[in-house]
Amino acid sequence: MNPSTSNQSSNRSGNTAASDAAESTLRLVASLSAPDGLEERVQAALKSAPRAGQILAWPTLARPVSGWGRAAAAAAICFVVAGGGWGVVARLQPGQAGSAKGPGLASPAGLSSSGAMRTPQTLHRPVVPAAVANPVIATAQSAQPVHHRNKPSAAGKVVAQSIPGEAK
């Protein structure tokens, strides 16, 4: 026998033995018996399963005898729906008195200012505080006539203010 041929055949037999071992394990797992009471549990699950809904039958008197009855019922439903829709549309014709109307714009160019005038914000002018006068000069000045400039304060009172340049 050729050595390579014998090696191949031994490999093949080894492969077969290995795969046989694998298949015997799988067969063992596949032949395991089902647990007791499996059928009963499945039957119980099937009985408790929700059933499909059933359609109510027509009452004896109202049961349509032929296709004409069904067609008449369908036509009546269509008539009622179309009539109702027509009634709503007829009441809401545009331009008719009493019809609903949306609010219009006051000015065609956009929003108006309602006659309001814009006034700019103004600042109070700066007020120079009264200078601390020398007591000697102040007494000298008290003898002389003093020019006062009367000006209104922010509170509206008349404030006497001495001007240093005019003291001499």
Binding site: V29, A30, L38, R41, A57, T60
Partner: protein
Amino acid sequence: MSASQTIFAGWMEIPESSVRDQTRQFADEEALAALVSQYAATLYRVAYSVLRNPADAEDAVQEAFLRVLRHRDSLAEVRDQRVWLIRIVWNIVLDRKRRAKTRPETDDVTELARVLPSDGLTAEQIASAAQHHAHVLACVDQLPTKEREVLMLSAFEELNSVEIASVLGITESSVRSRLFRARNLMAGLLEHSRSLR
């Protein structure tokens, strides 16, 4: 009898069509019960071979029969109910396994030793056999999906290659070629693991 009473009596009346529906429903239920008693065990074994968890396998069987209940109107059109049911449960278990991605229970050697038959074996022999089977199953899990599926279904004596092809939705020649590849791959995996020891 006034008109309203007549109408009310009409509502209460059981129409003939509903009687026919009920009769058909009872017939369907009987047919379904017969299917359960005939194939529940087979479906359980198919489910267990994939999921390897008794509770999950039982759930899969129940789900399969619930699906049959939903499609009971087309039950009469099914040519081979056994293969049809196996195909249903096969799809369910594959879907469950894909979604769960959990470790199968039989990775645990102790659990496998508990489940597998051990008549006339000593405790040591049982432990050794369980270890061997767990190792083989681990190698099976390493196979490519297509080859693994064919190899697992071929372990069922009830299924020939035509029926396996029908369950998997492939041709019979594909089943044979995949089975050949699976056996070779399996032998290689087992040899490799043996050489590593």
